[in-house]
């Protein structure tokens, strides 16, 4: 749950970076006691913030074979870094960890992407044609597995017209596929993407088609700007609001996790 809104301030430069707001918005999606599949980079930090604030009993799983209760001390560049393994709850193999996901034991997973479409399908593989791609992206990692099997999916990515597109060129990680109940018909488990956190706004699926709708706008951003930067005719949820800015405890937790200021820029 987002904390109550602080007294309103001029929408100029808040005392947090956009990246920091995104991390904190992501952290708020983690409920206490949940088992969360934590991807690389930004989500690791979001998990740390959640655990230090409202979700002290969350469990973080890293697909390489790490489970942590306490967030690691210090900034992580990869899930396999030493600080993520020292004092871990479990260091094991990928099958043991991703198998828990495949077995339906994971509440939520994080993924990011280069492209997302209005049904929450994500592309991190090929822009253009598979056989002669305009851009070859790094690929899937474990994202398809997370997208297919976690109870729900938390997506974090930058908000640009060429990234939020009508239809992705390649579905690396399935969202709602063609919308409606296409996801269930394809044999996928879980509820699919329940939130997309961008650097401008938060989107959520809405209605029977499970189309992504604008759910809240980050402070300092406007509806027009968001529509201009979205590659499909983005609709809004009925109760469209503003994203709550970071609270003091959230920022304190973030700075404890992000000692080197990696996400401050």
């Amino acid at each position: 749950m987002p904390p109550s809104k602080p007294p309103s301030k001029p929408p100029s430069k808040p005392e947090y970076s956009t990246q920091e707001l995104m991390i904190i918005a992501a952290a708020r999606e983690i409920k206490d006691g949940e088992r969360i599949f934590v991807g690389m980079r930004l989500p690791i930090t979001a998990y740390g913030v959640a655990r230090l604030t409202h979700a002290p009993n969350a469990v973080g799983l890293f697909e390489s074979g790490v489970v942590r209760y306490e967030p690691a001390e210090g900034m992580l560049y990869t899930m396999c870094d030493g600080p993520n393994q020292l004092g871990a709850a479990w260091t094991t193999g990928l099958i043991q960890i991703m198998g828990l996901l495949s077995g339906g034991r994971i509440h939520a997973g994080f993924i990011g992407g280069a492209e997302i479409d209005r049904f929450g399908n994500i592309n991190t593989s090929y822009i253009g044609d598979i056989d002669a791609p305009k851009v070859k992206l790094p690929g899937s990692g474990g994202a398809p597995d997370i997208a297919a099997m976690a109870e729900r999916l938390i997506i974090v990515m930058n908000h640009q017209k060429h990234r939020l597109v009508e239809r992705v060129d390649y579905i690396t990680s399935p969202g709602f596929l063609d919308g409606g109940d296409a996801r269930a018909r394809a044999g996928l488990a879980g509820a699919g993407p329940q939130v997309v956190i961008t650097d401008r706004a938060i989107l959520r699926p809405f209605g029977p088609e499970n189309e992504l709708h604008l759910a809240s706008i980050h402070p300092g951003h406007t509806l027009d700007e968001i529509l201009e930067n979205t590659g499909w005719a983005l609709k809004s949820v009925p109760d469209l609001g503003e994203t709550a800015p970071p609270s003091e405890p959230e920022m304190t937790a973030l700075h404890r996790i992000d000692k080197e200021g990696f996400w401050r820029g």
Partner: protein, 286 residues
């Protein structure tokens, strides 16, 4: 060949470098994720096929050589076999343990089913309702290189920390090459047989190569060299930049000993000096 299966730690970069120096060609490089190792081999022209889930630079994002090879066939075109991490894990598992294939649900809905023709879509024969499954066939590499914290001279090795797919990928392979950070007496390994991931009877070669993983980390031994990954990302944006980088750090360096010497103090700063020992386990039988 499998070049690293632990994802982002214990990557056998020393083997990557040596393959480049030897001018190997037409390799099918298999690695779920091996940070910049695969990108280096592609840039050096060693690779015909990539079997994996992710090729890039974990610190920097894109792998420029991988992009160039896929987008414009530079330095040569490559065939890409797309998997997700779990599905390549199941392919190794099947290869290791004599199963012809594994039915997986976690890549349903993904276009991996379209771009990887090895994988077949089928129906679960145990279900009365239609229930699709993706059949992932066994993957049996010719050789697997792996980095371990310590090994005896017979290849009996101890590994700790997260291991990704190291065990399954190694057992699936015809031949195993161990790059050991430290060679110890057999008694040290035998004192803790549950910490053995791959027994020595399956190992074909043991090489004593300290910091074989650099710039990747090795738990309890070496920290990750973040800066090295960033520099690689920056300098390899253009093919000429990669060739320059590869000359300096691989081709013009005779062996890993010289590589370590070249790193010098930078490597020493990555050496883990602290001690956080595991609680002992007692194996006494009387």
């Amino acid at each position: 060949m499998v070049l690293g299966a632990a994802l982002e730690n214990a990557i056998p970069f020393a083997a990557t470098h040596e393959l480049i120096r030897q001018g190997r060609r037409d390799l099918n490089v298999i690695a779920p994720i091996s940070d910049i190792s695969t990108d280096m081999l592609i840039g050096a022209g060693c690779v015909a096929e990539v079997t994996g889930a992710w090729v890039g630079n974990v610190s920097g994002g894109m792998g420029h050589n991988y992009r160039r090879a896929a987008e414009s066939g530079q330095p040569n075109p490559i065939k890409i076999w797309d998997y997700s991490n779990f599905s390549i894990g199941m392919a190794f598992f099947a290869g290791a343990y004599g199963l012809p294939y594994i039915p997986v649900k976690s890549i349903l809905g993904s276009d991996i089913l379209k771009s990887n023709s090895r994988i077949k879509l089928a129906q679960n024969p145990f279900s009365d309702e239609p229930e699709p499954v993706a059949l992932v066939p066994a993957l049996k590499p010719d050789v697997a290189f792996l980095v371990v914290q310590r090994s005896d001279r017979f290849g009996n090795s101890h590994i700790w920390g997260s291991t990704g797919l190291t065990q399954e990928a190694s057992i699936a392979a015809d031949r195993i090459v161990v790059l050991a950070d430290e060679i110890v007496e057999p008694e040290v390994i035998a004192s803790d047989p549950s910490r053995v991931l791959i027994p020595g009877f399956g190992v074909n070669a043991v090489c004593h190569v300290p910091a074989a993983c650099h710039p990747a980390p090795l738990i309890g031994r070496w920290k990750r060299d973040h800066a090295f990954f960033h520099v690689y990302h920056k300098e390899t944006r253009e093919p000429e930049g990669f060739q320059r980088w590869c000359g300096e750090w691989v081709r013009d360096v005779p062996d890993h000993e010289a590589y370590r010497a070249k790193l010098g103090g930078q490597l020493e700063e990555l050496r883990i000096r602290g001690n956080a020992p595991s609680a002992p386990a007692n194996y006494a039988a009387e």
